[in-house]
Every structure is written in C-alpha cells, then in structure tokens.
C-alpha cells in the first residue's frame, strides 16, 4: 500500500486521480468475482453424495 501511495505521489495529480479510480474499480471487480465464487461454493451441498447400488 505504501509503495502504491508513493507511486501515486510521483504522478501528476490528474493522472494520480485517474489511476486511483482505475485501481479502485479493479479492486471492486476482483471483490465481485471473489464474492460470486464464494456464493457458488457456499451454495454447494455440504454432504458429498456417495452412490451405492443395492
């Protein structure tokens, strides 16, 4: 985070603002993908189905 902050501080203010928006947007996308996947995994039945013929 510190490195990211340092990097931003070296950029022109307008570019730094734009980059921060893009980074936040990408973080939001990543969070959405993780949330979507977690919902899928939580949704799976917890007990595995083992088929036995009798």
């Amino acid at each position: 985070m510190k490195m990211l902050q340092m990097l931003l501080s070296r950029l022109p203010p307008r570019l730094a603002t734009l980059v921060s928006h893009v980074l936040s947007l990408m973080a939001g996308v990543l969070a959405a993908v993780i949330l979507h996947y977690v919902l899928y995994r939580i949704d799976l039945p917890s007990k595995p189905f083992i088929y036995v013929a009798f």
Partner: protein, 411 residues
Amino acid sequence: MSAPAEHPSLLTPRETPGWFRPGSFVLGLAGALIALSLLGWWLGRRDQYPHFTRFFPAISPEVSYYPTVAEMGAIVRARCRPDQVLVIVGGNSIFYGSGQPPELMWTRRLQELLGDRYCVVNLAFRGATASDGAAVVAEVLRREFPHQIYVANVGTLQAINPLGSIPYRFIFWEAYYKGELVTYAPRDNVVHAYFWDDLTHRSEWLDTAGRVWLDRALHFRDFWNWVAMDWIFTVPTSYYPTLAEGLLRARKSFSDREGNFDDTPFRQRFRTDTLKLETDITRGFTGPHYERTADGGWRMRSPEKKEFEWFIRVAMPEQLRRRTLIVVSKNCPFYVERLSAEERARDGQSYSDSLTIWRAAGYHAATYTDDFTAHDYGDRAHLTVSGGRKLAALVADNVRPMAVELGYLSP
C-alpha cells in the same frame, strides 16, 4: 492568472490522493456482479455438453458437480425440435443404463425404435428416483415442449417423494423457488409441512430459499459450472484417485466410459458369496408390505397402501401424471427363483398391485415382460445390453400409444 503548477514530488502526503476511491470500488463491484450475472444467465442457456450421452459420474453430484435446471433445459433444447415428441427419461441407475456403454445404451435403442418424430433424452441419475431432476426439467419445459412424455422407473411398491430424493433435491428447490413449476397446492402443502411442521427443518427454509433467490439474481451456479465444465474444476472430490483428475481437470474433457456387463462372465456377475444377501434384498421388496389373507393369499397392508397412493398423487399435478410412464423394474429372475413359492406369489402380486395403484392415480404404468431372463441382467437390478434392448422395446410399445392418446400424433 493561474497558479504555477507544482512538481508532484513537492506534494505533501496530505495532498497525495489516496489510491482507494469508494465510489469507483462500488461501481466496479456492482458492475462486475451485473456482468457476471448476465454472463451466468446466458451461459446457463447454452448447451455445455456437446457430446452429452447421460449424466455420467464426472458431470454429476457424485463428484460435486451440480447441473442446474437451465443447463439441463439447454441439453434438451440443443437436441430436440419443438415439433418432435420429447421423451425425457428419468429414474435411477437402471434407466441411466449402468453397465451399458454409451454406444449400446438402452435409450439410444429407444430413439432408433421411435424414429425421428420423437426425441429421447436420458436425464436419469445414479441413485435418483422418478421425481428427481429429469421430472423437474420436464415440468419446467412443459410450455416450450408441450408434446412431451416423461418416462421413469421405480421399484415395486416404491412411491416417490414430491420433493425428490435428498441428494438430488437441490434441483427441485431450484425450480420451485424460481417459480418454474406448476402451481399445485398439494405439493405446496408438502413443502410447507417440510419446513414448518418438522422442527429439524424449520431453520433450513431461509437457507434453502435464500440460496435460490440469490442465484436467481446473480446466476453464480450457471457461471461457475461453465468454468468447471470448460476451464478448471475447483471443488475437491474423492471420486477420482488423483488430484489432477479429481480437482483441476475441466469436466468437458471427461467422456462417458461406462463399462459393459457383458465383459464379465455370468458366474462372476452372480456370485455364490452374495447369493443369500441379494435374495434377502429381493425378498425385502415385498415382505414388509404384505399380510396373509384368510384364504392363504397375500394382501398389501392398508397403511402402506394408503401412504403409497397419497405420495404418488401429491408428487405430480394431474396433467403431468397423464403424460408420465412409470416402469416398475423387476429384480433378476436368478434371485426371484430362489424365493419360496409363497414368496414368489407375493412378489408377482406386488407388480400387479403396483401397476393398479399407479394407473388409478392417473399415470401410465408398465413392468418388464416375461421374456426378461437372468442373462438380461448384469446384477440383481441392472440390465445388460440385451436387457436394455428389451426395455427399449417395452418403453417404445407404451410410448407410441401414449403419444396418440395425448393428441401429439395421429394414429
């Protein structure tokens, strides 16, 4: 006059913009969720199984792969035309075709016998019942494929649960809470009783319905099933011995490698060390359900009979029962012949009683003909290729008049 621009390095930390912008983060989160949801919705309606034969273990709940109702609907849509009579096959491993390789499976023979005016799709699962996934999918597709016949098997005196069996109930819940099933008050009452009359299930209602509602909005099941099918499977399963096969391999890279009972000699299929056990199981199908009559005959016990009648009426709305063919599967004669004469009489009567009860409830019903021999069986219950051919003939002989009776085809 504008102020001179400051060099970035002269900005104090206080003036440096933070990298995190809550507004953009929320925008990214919401936008991606909407995009994933739309993708999931779209992918679920694509046929993900170009070489589909049936739900063999690698693409079934046995390896923690849970096909969705939309996926199964897409399988049907990709193979059948609305002008054909859709024949959806459900039931357990017998109708799945255990012991019959894909090129020789009985439903392929059924398609050959019925011809192009019909389209046969095998949606049976191993260990499922007649009210599980295939029945649900057929009901969901009732408007899109109004000319449909649902065929499934049961054991003698085996009723069906309106909610399906536990391992495959996820399919029923999905269709039920997405509002895709026929509104049928007796079944609604069973759902209500399941959650509210049984204390052990009361806490599960929000969990069960909530998951479906969330998926209805976000379509995560369809999206991640697509990832599992086309790219990488991320749910560990003990079904396969190696991690690479069991966990990582895309599901579409697996093929239906069902073995052939005929590769095993008869004496090894019907071994003496399991003879008593299998005969006892055969006996158990009818023993607990019958009592002797005064004249030495057999009569089905009244409570069992009433329960059976109630379950099969509640399991499906009347209009769906009329287009359903229930096949009562028989045990292998190799074991039935080892029962006593009285037990054999009881066993035989159970089939005629079963057919009478199913038909009285509005279903079409049939059972194996007398020409099924021990060589048509791979074990006590499952059929060999030759048994599958006889089954296909039996089902075709029942499906054709049903199609005429239901007004799908002219005589």
